[in-house]
Symmetry: C2
Subunit: 415 residues, 2 copies
Amino acid sequence: MQAEIITIGDEILIGQIIDTNSAYIGKALNSIGVSVYQITSVQDHKQHILKALAEAEANADIIIITGGLGPTKDDITKHTICEYFNDTLVRNASVTKNIKRLWRDYVKQPLQQVNLDQALMPSKAKVLMNRVGSAPGIWIEKAEKVFISMPGVPLEMKTLMQEEVLPKLIKKYKRPFIKHKTLLTYGIGESMLAAKIEDWEDNLPDYIKLAYLPSLGKVRLRLSGKGINAQELSNEIDKQITAVLPLIKEVFVGFEADGELEVLIAKKLTKCHKTLAIAESCTGGKLAETFTQHAGASAYFQGAIVPYKTQSKINILGVSENLIKEHSVVSAAVVEAMAVQCRKLYASDYALATTGNAGPTKGDSEAEIGTVYIAIASEKGVISHKYQLGNNRTRVIKKAVNKALELFKKEIFKN
Amino acid sequence: MQAEIITIGDEILIGQIIDTNSAYIGKALNSIGVSVYQITSVQDHKQHILKALAEAEANADIIIITGGLGPTKDDITKHTICEYFNDTLVRNASVTKNIKRLWRDYVKQPLQQVNLDQALMPSKAKVLMNRVGSAPGIWIEKAEKVFISMPGVPLEMKTLMQEEVLPKLIKKYKRPFIKHKTLLTYGIGESMLAAKIEDWEDNLPDYIKLAYLPSLGKVRLRLSGKGINAQELSNEIDKQITAVLPLIKEVFVGFEADGELEVLIAKKLTKCHKTLAIAESCTGGKLAETFTQHAGASAYFQGAIVPYKTQSKINILGVSENLIKEHSVVSAAVVEAMAVQCRKLYASDYALATTGNAGPTKGDSEAEIGTVYIAIASEKGVISHKYQLGNNRTRVIKKAVNKALELFKKEIFKN
């Protein structure tokens, strides 16, 4: 059972937007046992879309198309699909009703003819009703294959995938089981990691593949298996993980399935009724945002201070001016004082603090670009670490956030 | 002059990572007049990669491949390229030297044989030296076409694109000019926008295309043109923009080329020597991070407070407890007090504040999910607005950040 994803839109090919839909669709299809053979992004150009549809029909059983279903003139997907299937457009009453409801309850702006015309659907299509937007999805079967077209707006695509596409695919096709399990490691590079597990890797069964996914300061190690017996597949993957864990125990921090590090931390703090506050200078709000993006943060997250300017470290956070003068604003002494003061101000169990120089130029400190100090304060006292995280601003900030999460996760899972 | 981008890696097809490289490469190629015909993402599978290479060779002049050049066993791109060109691998002395240098100066971990073997290169290839990683790029010419293979690690790919690939392509090919100009609009949907500019759109010359890119609370309107005379192309696009601006004056906020809203704000504040501080509750650090991600933030950004819990709005920010009791924590009175207090604490010219309920459950307030208040404090006093931003947490946070940027941009550009 193979799928191909076709994403349509000049904005993808000229690099104006990043295609995030394909990853979502790939993950969702995998979860029901469908592999994605290929992702193809093409221009808003009829002949090119027709060619991509024909190639996908040759390669895959399920063809999923996103984009180009909007109300404006650059949206040509619906007409092109009609041409591909030698079909015509007919007005669908349920879609018209849905559009009128959306405009009345949510959009609250005048309803245009172009919006009403989104109810024109290929006559051969089953309509996939879009609860959250005006462009419905299209489902057309041809022999044993199915073509599915959805709008490119991520929320609309996701809602249609969950409410319409996945249930229909599950009903229509027999599918194998696909399992992925990903181990998160922090602190060593992929070749060092590969050397540690070489013998184990060489003895993996054929139907389990291993992949290394390196990124800033961490390597994800993914085991992927496919089979017709879900239980056997799970057992074998678990067995392999039990075998590899002792080989990587110094660098292993958790499983991706359990969520990224901040999710593991959030669960642990919530469970233990502990609270966290953050004082972040060089990470500029990103560490707080990493936690608060997830629902339920208010169970443990007290808040943050971003004392970006040196003066605010003194005035607002209450770090001693003399301490800063003596050690400089990027120093172990200052990051520790920041964590301690933050914990006090927010009356939290833990406080995390960062200070450093993310570049590209030096700020209120003579510290080399890429120097970052991270501290954790708790009832046991305060500890800090120094890092050199390179000279690319975006990467320094991301690596500092990852390092802070890594340190803090180790700290709270220690006992 | 057409290019095709092939990205290799199971992690893309199973949705474990989002392919950000293609957008970067697409934008870079456009900047030198090369259009991207198609982006194709394929599995780590030899036959599939060979098929994708053959199809790309049929469609495009320039074939750019990323991914699968790492040192581990799942990296098969180099061997597959060898097979495609009926070539063999030979050890390259300069690459060996570069790898040894990187390990000595940066990696500081034991150098493995697999890393040294990254110096094995197809004999027909020109080596594209990778200053920031161990996998060099590969450049192979075949008749008038060129195949370029780069590692998938974004920083390495970007460095190779800028230092090697773009200069070599400019030297090798005659190229037309491609110009994009994108207008940012906030506040109305794409169909309303389309209705406002319909006559203008219908009269655009053939070689200029218009695209609508809607996202949370904003629509980007992109004009794209291609031609052999750069000056004429620019003049025509400028002429069209002059014609459309009066039609959209209530919703137009700036050009994307000038940067996103926070970049426009940053430039303006820096130029006028004005400063900004932020007190953000429901946006949880994201508004601060939106500013601090860009270099130069310390010129105007004083810092932020994220008073996530109600108690910290009182203790740290100094909002009156009675005011909160009287109006509730999600109210115009409280967001205004937050902005005023924040401006005072940071001694800044402006302060932005947000409070609201991002969901999915209600917090310390009875306010409906999606209710957000935003305030701006300045020497002239304080103003606030109330919004209803839906019931999806991620979208509420993003929309609130976009709204805050929109309001603040209007405020500081008013005079």
